[in-house]
């Protein structure tokens, strides 16, 4: 269905793309139609968010010369409005449960359906109002441009989160249509579909039953399920990102990369530089740095109890940021703890690891660090995957049973083994400085392109023919 939608929208856009305004209007309508397939109420809410933030942006622009307090009031109102909207739809039940578990009261719960992609587009509009407030960008006066910035369908549901300045600048210029659109779209789309339909979905068919019934799972299944989930979530999300990047490229728009070989990281800090990069960039700019500045303003001395103030600042800001990051992923204690766990790991690394020398490490040391990071990452994924905290206990009970039978299908075993071997091989190759160099002659580039195009088509067809036949939604759709 999506493919048909894409073909229709692209054909219409190709016909009118020379008129930039018409092209953007078409993409906006298409985005709203696309979003309406999840429910008309979702579109209504999205339009409400767009209108609210468009107005806030204009107001902030209008008050450029006004006293800072008035501008800050507008900003605070905009942030509170957006966060309240997110909390109402996504976190309402979580907070009500907390209050009811503490106080003997019965709070009503509004029966609302969580609009899909709400976390992503709320973060987008927050970045916009903050940037306008900070005068990093000018307020967007064209409502179509602003609506398209928020609702552009390739990135609407699952990101990547784009910097407002970068995307709005792209909207200002007419998009070109040529071989470049297809050459970027096709390999990304094929790779994304392959990652999702073949790799992630097959692994999911093993992982999901294990985590659904940990008490009945064997020790080996439990131990295999965690790395399988690590690869599943990576393939699932990076596949989705590839599709988003490819589809955006088809319409001539560039979206930021979200992944940079995250499982090659040699520390948890490094992992977060490579995993969901658009989110970590957002968190760094709009949460980590403001918190760090706020804390540093309250710590005038160079050292406290023998600890450097900068380290304390870093730890506090990291813990806050990563806890929010965990909470952003889902309204549950497992996610909060997962975020906290990442924050603690990064804070500990601040003291244990020497920064700035990572690339110069000898291979053996790098491998050792990488192995430790993998263990830490997998522990984190376990916390992320379980439905409730008691499941962690159930997981370790199952592991302690020392049963070594397994339900791992061969295809999953193959995917798992190839993924592990590929990761290790790539890690060693990267560390050894080996890179694949294409000669810079036009014919070599052309031949490389031909091979890439052929591989893309074969990958696409392989994904369509050998998909596991079970429709599994993207994991990040639930966030």
């Amino acid at each position: 269905m999506f493919l048909v939608f894409l073909v229709v929208v692209f054909a219409a856009w190709a016909a009118i793309h020379r008129w930039n305004a018409a092209g953007k209007a078409l993409l906006l309508v298409a985005s709203l139609v696309f979003y309406a397939s999840w429910g008309l109420h979702c579109v209504g809410l999205l339009l409400g968010v767009i209108a609210f933030n468009y107005g806030a942006g204009l107001l902030l622009g209008w008050l450029t010369t006004a006293p800072r307090a008035r501008r800050r009031l507008i900003l605070v109102l905009a942030i509170v409005g957006n966060v309240a909207f997110l909390a109402l739809f996504k976190y309402q039940r979580f907070f009500v449960d907390i209050v009811q578990s503490i106080l003997p009261v019965h709070l009503p719960v509004l029966q609302v359906v969580v609009p899909v992609g709400i976390s992503f587009y709320i973060f987008q509009v927050l970045s916009y109002v903050i940037d306008v407030y900070q005068r990093t960008i000018k307020p967007c006066k064209n409502p179509v441009d602003f609506a398209l910035f928020v609702a552009f369908f390739p990135k609407l549901l699952l990101g990547p989160l784009v910097r407002p300045g970068e995307f709005l600048a792209q909207l200002g210029a007419r998009r070109t249509l040529g071989a470049g659109n297809f050459s970027q779209y096709l390999p990304l789309f094929a790779a994304g579909l392959f990652k999702k339909l073949i790799l992630a979905d097959n692994l999911g068919l093993f992982v999901d039953p294990v985590f659904a019934n940990l008490a009945a799972a064997s020790s080996l299944d439990c131990m295999l399920a965690v790395p399988a989930y690590a690869f599943q979530i990576y393939y699932d999300f990076s596949g989705c990102t590839d599709i988003a990047l490819g589809v955006a490229a088809l319409f001539g728009y560039a979206l930021p990369q979200n992944f940079n070989a995250p499982y090659l990281a040699t520390s948890i800090t490094d992992f977060w530089r490579r995993w969901h990069m658009s989110l970590t960039t957002w968190l760094r700019n709009y949460l980590f740095l403001p918190v760090a500045y706020a804390v540093s303003a309250r710590l005038p001395q160079a050292r406290y109890c023998g600890i450097k103030a900068e380290n304390i600042i870093y730890c506090v800001a990291t813990l806050v940021t990563m806890t929010v990051c965990g909470f952003w992923h889902g309204a549950g204690w497992t996610f909060v703890l997962w975020g906290l766990y990442q924050g603690v790991a990064m804070s500990v690394e601040r003291f244990v690891l020497k920064s700035g020398r990572d690339k110069c490490l000898p291979l053996a040391v790098a491998l050792w660090r990488w192995a430790i990071t993998v263990v830490l990452m997998l522990s984190g994924w376990l916390l992320f995957r379980v439905q409730k905290l008691t499941d962690v206990g159930a997981f370790f009970s199952a592991v302690a049973k020392l049963q070594f039978s397994t339900t791992l299908p061969r295809v999953c075993a193959v995917i798992l083994v190839i993924s592990c071997v590929y990761t290790v091989a790539r890690f060693i190759m990267t560390r050894s400085g080996y890179t694949l160099a294409i000669p810079a002659t036009p014919w070599a580039s052309f031949a490389f392109g031909v091979a890439k195009g052929a591989c893309a088509i074969l990958l696409l067809l392989f994904a369509l023919v050998f998909s596991c036949g079970v429709t599994v939604p993207f994991i990040y759709l639930q966030f």
Binding site: L3, C412, A454
Partner: protein
């Protein structure tokens, strides 16, 4: 200007060599895949009918390749009629392309395809399916739309199916599958891989995505359809039944269209009324009213229009012939097959126009009838 074409081409390629390379590579690979149907024919060439998706995809290739004398169309009941028994009694080569729940929508699409593709005028044994539950009907539409190329779809069915979200998806899938033959044959390719390279297949496919029925039928291909489970009594009765939600208007139009194919001389249509177990005959009455009156009405209508009918309702079916309420085991299937074969022979003898030796089909039929023992 044309002399300068290579120069222009080179200039374009040099402007963005990688991008044009990707486009060229993709286009060439796609064209090669589409223009190599022999690859898919090879993949499916040693196939006996198995289940809906395969049956349809497979039959399309066979109709072009091999001149079958006739086709069996309909639901899982006529699916039990064995081509090998028909061949031994009538001398005619039949292909059983019946599928679970295959009703008139399926039969019409297939008959249109047979009329368009079969090198000879084929006999179509169409079963009058009485009981098609909503969920089964949906599966039939799904497989018909996904696996029968779009040009053979009955357009009046489109209006009916377009009103339902699932059916719309099947239509869109079907359009895509019509454009990409590889996808239409994907179940066949998978099953062929399981049969030929079981180890590789298990490495590439999750067990849930492997077509289980196909695996059985690949191994036991002996010209018969279906795995023929020998279940001991007591036999299962009919389960919960959900009547098909749509009305019958579109179905009657399809019957009419099928009749037109016969009247236009594109196929030789024979209607088959399947037998049923006496114990379960009344089960559907609470949903449909008395099905016998409906059957009789339909039979009369078709007979008035010159359609031959093989009425198997008088065939005695006992517990020993049944697998469940309306499916036969091997014994019942053989009994049903023999009855249909003898009745067909009788009809052929009574229809001299069908085997007039002027046509290729007529010559073939008259030759076969001369050899077959009289009924």
């Amino acid at each position: 200007m044309w002399r300068n074409c290579p120069v222009y081409l080179l200039a374009i390629l040099r402007s963005a060599p990688t991008a044009w390379g990707v486009v060229a590579g993709a286009a060439l690979t796609f064209a090669a895949l589409c223009l190599m149907p022999s690859v898919w024919l090879w993949t499916l060439s040693r196939w006996e009918p198995a289940y809906a998706a395969l049956n349809v995809a497979h039959m399309f290739e066979r109709t072009k390749q091999q001149a079958y004398d006739g086709f069996l169309l309909g639901s899982s009941q006529i699916n039990q009629v064995q081509p090998s028994i028909l061949r031994s009694i009538t001398g005619l080569d039949f292909y059983n392309s019946a599928i679970s729940g295959g009703d008139i929508a399926y039969m019409l699409s297939m008959s249109r395809a047979i009329a368009a593709r079969s090198p000879n005028k084929a006999i179509v044994l169409a079963e009058f399916s009485r009981y098609v539950a909503a969920d089964i009907e949906e599966l039939v539409y799904r497989d018909t739309l996904r696996f029968v190329p779009a040009q053979y779809w009955a357009l009046h069915e489109l209006g009916f199916a377009w009103n339902k979200a699932n059916y719309r998806t099947y239509y869109l899938d079907g359009i895509l599958n019509s454009l990409l033959p590889l996808i239409r044959y994907k179940e066949g390719i998978k099953a062929r891989m399981i049969a030929s390279f079981p180890r590789l297949a298990t490495l590439l496919m999750h067990p849930r995505s492997q077509p289980g029925l196909v695996r059985i039928n690949c191994i036991h291909q002996d010209g018969h359809n279906g795995p023929y489970l020998h279940r001991p009594p007591p036999y299962a009765g009919p389960g919960a039944y959900v009547p098909a939600p749509a009305g019958n208007a579109h179905k009657l139009r399809s019957w009419d269209a099928l009749l037109q194919l016969h009247l236009q001389g594109k196929i030789m249509l024979v209607l088959v009324m399947p037998p049923s177990h006496a114990s379960w005959a009344g089960f559907y009455a609470k949903y449909y009213g008395d099905p016998r009156s409906c059957v009789a009405q339909q039979r009369d209508f078709l007979q008035k229009n010159g359609i031959a009918v093989i009425d198997c309702s008088s065939l005695p079916i006992t517990d020993d012939d049944c697998m469940d309420a309306h499916h036969f085991n091997w014994s019942g299937g053989a009994k049903y097959s023999e009855y249909v074969a003898n009745q067909l022979l009788d009809i052929l003898h009574r229809e001299p126009a069908w085997h007039a030796p002027q046509s290729l089909t007529g010559a073939r039929l008259s030759e076969v009838l001369a050899r077959a023992s009289p009924p």
